[in-house]
C-alpha cells in the first residue's frame, strides 16, 4: 500500500508511524487491534496494520472453513413442511391443540385453541445418510449427502426483528456487531480490492432486523457488511459520474495523490498516507467490483444451473454472486431473501402451493451453489448455512384458520438449519424434536450454539474473540454458546 514513489526507507518509516497511529490513536479501533493481538499471541501482531485493518489474519485455532456464505430465509420457513416429518401430527390433523402445549405461552398471531395441522407434503429419505426431506425441496434432495441438518434448533424470540438480531448479533436489540463483522474483524479478508463482508438482498424487502443484521455495532465501521446490488451501482457510488471517463478519473487521482503527498511531506500527518492509499484502493475497486458483480460473464450452463438471469435482483443471481465473491477472496457473504413468513394470509404464504413456488426460486440456486463450490474444490473450506430466524407452529395460525390458505404461526422452540461444506459432516442429521414438533427432545442447538460453532469452524474460540466497549469485553455469544462438536467432519 505504500505509494511507490517514496524512498523505501522513508516509506517504512511512514508505515511504522501509521501503524503506531492506528494502534493507539483511532479510538475504539486501537482497542480492537490490541484485543485481537492479545488473544492471538505475538505471531499475530505482524499482520495488524493501520492501512489494512482488513488484511488477512491467521485465526488462533485450526480453521476448517475460510469463508462463509449465509443464506437467510427471512420470515421463518415452515420446518414441519420441509425437513421435519411428523406422522403423528398428520394423524391428529384438525384436532384442537392440547392445552399442555399452549399453557402459559404467547404466540404472535394466535389466541384461543388452534387446530393441529399435519403437513400436507410428502416426505422421503434421501442420500446415503437417509435425510428426511419433503417434496417442497426437490433440489435439496440432490445434495443430501453434502449437508448436515440441525433439526432441533431453537431460539428465545418469536418476533422477526428480535429473532433475527439474536441470530446474527447475539442480542435482541440493535447495537451489537453482526456475525459477518465478527468474522472479518477476526480474520480480515483475502482480497483487498473487494469488501471483506458483503450483503445481498433479494425479493425486494430488507430483513426485519434491518441493517443491524450486517452492521458492525461497536466494532470499527470498516467491518460492517457492504451491501452489493445486482441492479444499479453494484456498490454504492462505485461508478464514476456521467461524463467522467476512466482516463480522466486516473488523471484526477494522480493530481490528488500529488497534492496530498506534498501536504504529507510538509505537515507530517500519517493519516494522509492512509487517505492516499484509500483513494488508490477505491480506484482499483471501481474495476474489481463491477467485474465480480457481472454474472453475464458466466457460461449459459452455469446460469441455467442456478436459474440466474443477468440484470435481475433475484435470489438465484445472489447465489451465483456469492460464489463469484468467495472465489475472489471475500470472507463473508450474507444473503437475505424476503417472503418466508408462512402465515397463510395470502396464497404466496400457503404451505402447499405457495411453498412449492417459493422453493422453486430458491432451493435450486442454493443446491446449485453447493454443487458449484464442490466442483471448484471450494466447498471443503467454505461453510454454507441455510435457515430462518425461527420455526413455525405445529398448529394452524389463528387468524387465517377460517380461510382456504394453510399457514402456521411463528414458533421459536423448533426449527431446522442446514449446513454444508466448511468442515461439517455430509448426509448427517443432528437433533430430534418430539413426535408433534412442539419441542426439541435430543441434541438441541440454540442460536448461540450455532454462532459458537460457526466461529469454531473459522478457527476461533467464541469465548475469546472479544472486543472491549464501554468498559466490558463483548463477544458474539454474550455469556452463552457451546460448540456443536457432533457436526464436525
Amino acid at each position: 500500500m505504500n505509494p511507490p514513489s517514496l524512498h523505501p526507507v522513508r516509506a517504512e518509516q511512514l508505515r511504522l508511524q501509521t501503524r503506531r497511529h492506528f494502534l493507539s490513536s483511532a479510538g475504539q479501533f486501537s482497542l480492537g487491534a490490541i484485543a485481537l493481538q492479545t488473544l492471538q499471541g505475538n505471531a499475530f501482531a505482524a499482520t495488524a496494520d493501520a492501512d489494512q485493518p482488513l488484511a488477512p489474519k491467521r485465526p488462533p485455532l485450526k480453521a476448517r472453513a475460510k469463508r462463509v456464505i449465509y443464506l437467510h430465509m427471512s420470515g421463518g420457513p415452515p420446518n414441519l413442511d420441509i425437513f421435519d416429518p411428523k406422522p403423528a401430527l398428520v394423524e391428529q390433523n384438525g384436532k384442537p391443540c392440547p392445552d399442555s402445549f399452549l399453557k402459559g405461552r404467547t404466540f404472535a398471531f394466535t389466541s384461543g385453541v388452534p387446530k393441529l395441522m399435519g403437513s400436507p407434503r410428502t416426505f422421503k429419505q434421501y442420500g446415503k445418510g437417509g435425510l428426511w426431506m419433503s417434496d417442497a425441496v426437490p433440489n435439496f434432495h440432490t445434495v443430501a449427502d453434502d449437508v448436515t441438518l440441525l433439526r432441533a434448533m431453537h431460539t428465545d424470540q418469536f418476533n422477526h426483528a428480535p429473532a433475527e438480531l439474536l441470530l446474527f448479533t447475539g442480542h435482541i436489540r440493535q447495537g451489537r456487531p453482526s456475525l459477518g463483522s465478527w468474522a472479518t474483524y477476526g480474520l480480515g479478508t483475502e482480497n483487498q480490492d473487494l469488501p471483506g463482508f458483503v450483503t445481498l438482498i433479494s425479493s425486494g424487502t430488507q430483513p426485519s432486523g434491518g441493517q443491524g443484521c450486517w452492521g458492525s455495532g461497536f466494532l470499527p465501521s470498516v467491518f460492517q457488511g457492504v451491501q452489493c446490488r445486482s441492479k444499479g451501482d453494484p456498490v454504492l457510488f462505485v461508478n464514476d459520474p456521467p461524463g467522467m471517463t476512466r482516463d480522466l478519473r486516473r488523471a484526477t487521482l494522480d493530481a490528488l495523490k500529488d497534492l496530498n503527498q506534498r501536504q504529507q511531506d510538509e505537515l507530517g500527518h500519517a493519516e494522509t498516507v492512509t487517505r492516499i492509499a484509500q483513494y488508490e484502493l477505491a480506484f482499483r475497486m471501481q474495476t474489481s467490483v463491477p467485474e465480480v458483480m457481472d454474472i453475464s460473464r458466466e457460461s449459459a450452463k452455469t446460469l441455467e444451473a442456478y436459474g440466474a438471469k443477468p440484470g435481475e435482483a433475484s435470489f438465484a443471481n445472489n447465489c451465483l454472486l456469492a460464489r463469484r465473491l468467495v472465489e475472489k477472496g471475500v470472507r463473508f457473504v450474507h444473503l437475505f431473501d424476503w417472503g418466508w413468513d408462512f402465515h397463510g394470509t395470502n396464497p404466496a404464504e400457503d404451505i402447499r402451493d405457495g411453498l412449492t413456488k417459493k422453493m422453486a426460486k430458491t432451493d435450486k440456486p442454493a443446491a446449485a451453489l453447493i454443487k458449484d463450490l464442490k466442483e471448484r474444490g471450494l466447498l471443503d473450506d467454505t461453510l454454507i448455512v441455510w435457515g430462518g430466524e425461527f420455526g413455525r407452529t405445529p398448529f394452524r395460525e389463528g387468524r387465517t384458520a377460517g380461510g382456504s390458505v394453510l399457514g402456521r404461526d411463528h414458533y421459536p422452540d423448533c426449527f431446522t438449519v442446514m449446513l454444508a461444506g466448511g468442515g461439517v459432516k455430509g448426509g448427517f442429521s443432528f437433533g430430534e424434536t418430539d413426535e408433534m414438533g412442539f419441542a426439541g427432545v435430543k441434541d438441541k442447538v440454540h442460536v448461540h450454539d450455532l454462532q459458537a460453532t460457526i466461529l469454531h469452524l473459522l478457527g476461533f474460540d467464541h469465548e475469546r474473540l472479544t472486543y472491549r466497549f464501554q468498559g466490558r469485553d463483548f463477544r458474539l455469544t454474550d455469556v452463552h454458546g457451546h460448540v456443536v462438536k457432533a457436526v464436525l467432519a
Partner: protein, 817 residues
Amino acid sequence: MRLRTAILTILVLPLAKAEDPINFSRQIRPILSENCIACHGPDDKTREAGLRLDDEVSAKSNREGDIAIVPGKPELSSIIQRIESKDPDDVMPPPKQHKVISPEQVALLKTWIRQGARWGKHWSYEPVVAVKVPANGEANPIDAFLLERLKKEKLTFAPAADRNLLIRRTALDLTGLPPTPAELTRLAQASPTELVDHYLAQPTFGEHWARGWLDMARYADSAGYPSDPGRTIWPYRDWVIRAFNANQRFDRFSIEQLAGDLLPNPTQEQLIATAFHRNTMTQNEGGTNDEEYRTAAVIDRVNTTYAVWMGTTMACAQCHTHKYDPITITEYFRSYAVLNQTADSDKADERPTMEVIPPAQKAARDAAQQRLTQAEAVFAQVKPTWLTGFDAWLNSKAAIPEKKLAALFAAPKEKRTAAQVKQLQEYYVRNVAQETKPEREAVAQLRKQLTELKPPTVPVMQELPAPKQRKTFVQLRGNWQALGDEVTPGVPVAWHAAPAKGQLDRLAFAEWLLSPKNPLTARVQVNRLWETVFGVGIVRTSEEFGSQGDLPVHPELLDWLAAEYVRSGWDTKHMLRLMFTSRAYRQSSASNPSLNERDPDNRLVARGPRFRPPGELLRDQALAVAGLLSPKMYGAPVRPMRPASGLSAAFGGSNDWTTSAGEDAHRRSVYTDTRRNSPYPSFTTFDAPNRETCTLRRDRSNTPLQAFVTMNDPVFVEASQGLARRLLKEGPTDMTGRLQYAFRLCVARAADAHELKALETLLQRSLATYRKDPALAAKMATQPLGPADKGADLAELAAWTAVAGVVMNLDEFLMRR
C-alpha cells in the same frame, strides 16, 4: 499486558520511582479492576472466596489466616503471593481467564503495599476539587495546565497556526461551515476573543452543536424496529438547536429534557424538551407485546440517562449486579422505577403527544380561524333570496349524509314543525343553494387553509397520576416477565444521596443528576466539549468514566474545567470560549515523525488538533463552497438526493424517497430525514450511527467507500459542478486566479506554484477531452445540477468540474486542521 495500557502508562504516568507516593485511584485500582474485580468484586453471585478487592475492609481483613493485603508488608500479602505463584492451581488470575499482570504492575502493587496500601474511591467518584492553576506565565488556565505537563515531557507548544487556517478551523468547529472569503478578510485582524465570539453568535452554531447531542438523544424521524414508520418529533430537534444558540445553562437544558413536564407551569418549550426520552423506539410489528417494548424503552431511558450525564454504563446491572462498578441490580431497577411512571406505552400513534404551535403560525391560525367564523356567520341569517330552489330540493331525491336531517327530509311536509323547517333551510343554504355558492366556496377555502395550518405534534413525557403509577420489580436476568422483589425509586448508594423529601420522581432525579455534588456530570460534559474541540477527550473513553474506562490524561485540568463549568453557571459558550482562545487550540497542527511516534493522538496537545469531521459536516461544507447551501432553518425534515435502493422496510413502506423540491434539497444535514432502518447512506459511510440507541462517541474510520462518496455521490458531484460555475462566475477571468479562488473557498489558503501547475495540467487535459466530446462535457457539467446559463461553455465548465472535484477531495478539505 495490553499494549494500550503500556502506551497509556508511558504517556500518563512517568514511571514510578520507589519513593514516589503511589496514587491508588490512578495506578492501583485499574490493575485490580482489569484483573481481579470480576471475581472479587461487587457481584456476590460470582464472588470467589468471599474476597472483595474493590472494598478496603474485605481486602485487608483476615479470612482464616489469609489476608489479601497487609499494609506495609507485601511479602505477607496473599495477593502478591498468589500473583507470583508458579502453581497453576494457585496462581492468580487463574490461567483460564487469560489475564496477565506484568512484572511492572506487580512491582507497583508491592510498592503501594509497602507504602501502607492507602485506599481511595475510583477517581471519577471522588468529588471535583478546586485545583490551583499553575503559575507559569500562561494567561489561559488551560494553557497553564497543559504547559506544566509539556515541560515535564520536555516539549512545548507549537507556533501559532496561520491566521486563515485558524479562521477555518474555528468556523468549522463552531458552525460546521467553512468561512466565506468575506469573513477571511473581515476577521484577518480580529483578536482571538473577537474571532470566537463572531462564530459563537452565528445561528449556524446551534445547528452544528445540536448534531452531537442528537446522537446521544438517539433522535430520528422514524419510530424504529422493522416497519420503521415516520415519526413527527422534529420540534425537539429545533428545540435543541435553539437551546444551543440561546446558550441555555446546561443544568436547565438537562432538567427540562428529563423532567420539563414536572416543572411548575411548564412552558410549551419545556414540554417539547421532554421529547428527549420519547426518542426511544416504538415497536409496531404485528403480534408484539406493547408492554415488552414499553419496558425496553424504559430500559433504554435508564441506560441513556446514566450514559449521557454520568458517563456510566448501567446496562451491565440490568441483568446482574455490575461486576466492576458498585451498582447492584436492585439499584438499577430503583432508577428504572423513577422513569417507569410515564403514560407512553409503545403505541403506534406515539401518544401522549402535544400540538406545537410556533409563534408565527399561531397568528396565522388565529386569523384564519377568525375569518372562518365570520364567513360561517353569514349563514345564520337565511336570506329569502337564497331559498328560490328550496321547495324543489325538498321534493327531490337528494341524499343527505346527516341521519337526523335525512329523516326530516323524508318526513311528509305537513308533519314538520317550523323549527324543523328552519333546520332544513339552514342545511340547504350551507350545502345546496346555487345562490350561496360564493359564500360556500369561501368557507371551504378557509377550512382548507386551517387544515393546512394544522400544527405539528411532538411526543412528550407525561407523568401518570398517583393512582395509576406502576409498581416496579427487579427483572431477573434482563427478562421483563421474570420478576423479583418490588423496588421503590432511588439512586445508587455509590454516589451522593438523593434529596430526602418525599418519593423520588423524575424531577428530583434530574436535579440529583445536575447537583454540584455529582462528581461525574460536570466532568463528563466538559470532557465531551474537549473531545469535540480537540478530537480526543481528556478521558479518552468519553462514554465510560467507570472503573473500566481510561484514566484522564490531564486529571487536574479536567477537574479545573469541571469546577469552572459549575462556577460559571453551566455556561457552555463560556467553556468553549476558554478552549477556543487558548494557545493550545490556536497552534499549528503540523506534526513530525518524532511527535507522531511519541504522542500519536496528540493528547499532550503539543500541536493543534487535526481530525476528520463527521459526514454531515462534509456534505454541508461541500454545499457551502458550491454556493448551493440553503440557510433556511428549522421545520419538518427534508429529503436531499439519495440513491434508490429498490427495497422496502420489513412490513413497511419503501425505503426510497423523492428528493425535496427547491432549496429543501440543499438544507443543512441536521434537517435531513433520519430513518433508522435506512439511514442516509453517505452519513453512514462516514460513521454516523443509525440513531437506534444512544451514541456517545463516533468512530472516525478512513475507508475506500468514503472516497466513493466524495468522488461519485451525486450530492458531491453536484457540489463540484456548483463550485465550477461559481469559479467562472465570481472568480477572476484567468486560470490561476480561479484556482486561487477555489483554494480560498475550500481550504482558506493560497495554492503554491506546484499545486497550481498540477491543477492547470489537469484542467488542460480535461478541457481537451471535453472539447472533443460535447455530449460528455454536457453530462459532466450539468448532471445532476441542471442546465448551465445560456451560452455557457460546457466543455470549460466540465473541465472545471473535474478540477473542483480534486480540490474537494484534498485531504485537507476533508480534515479540519
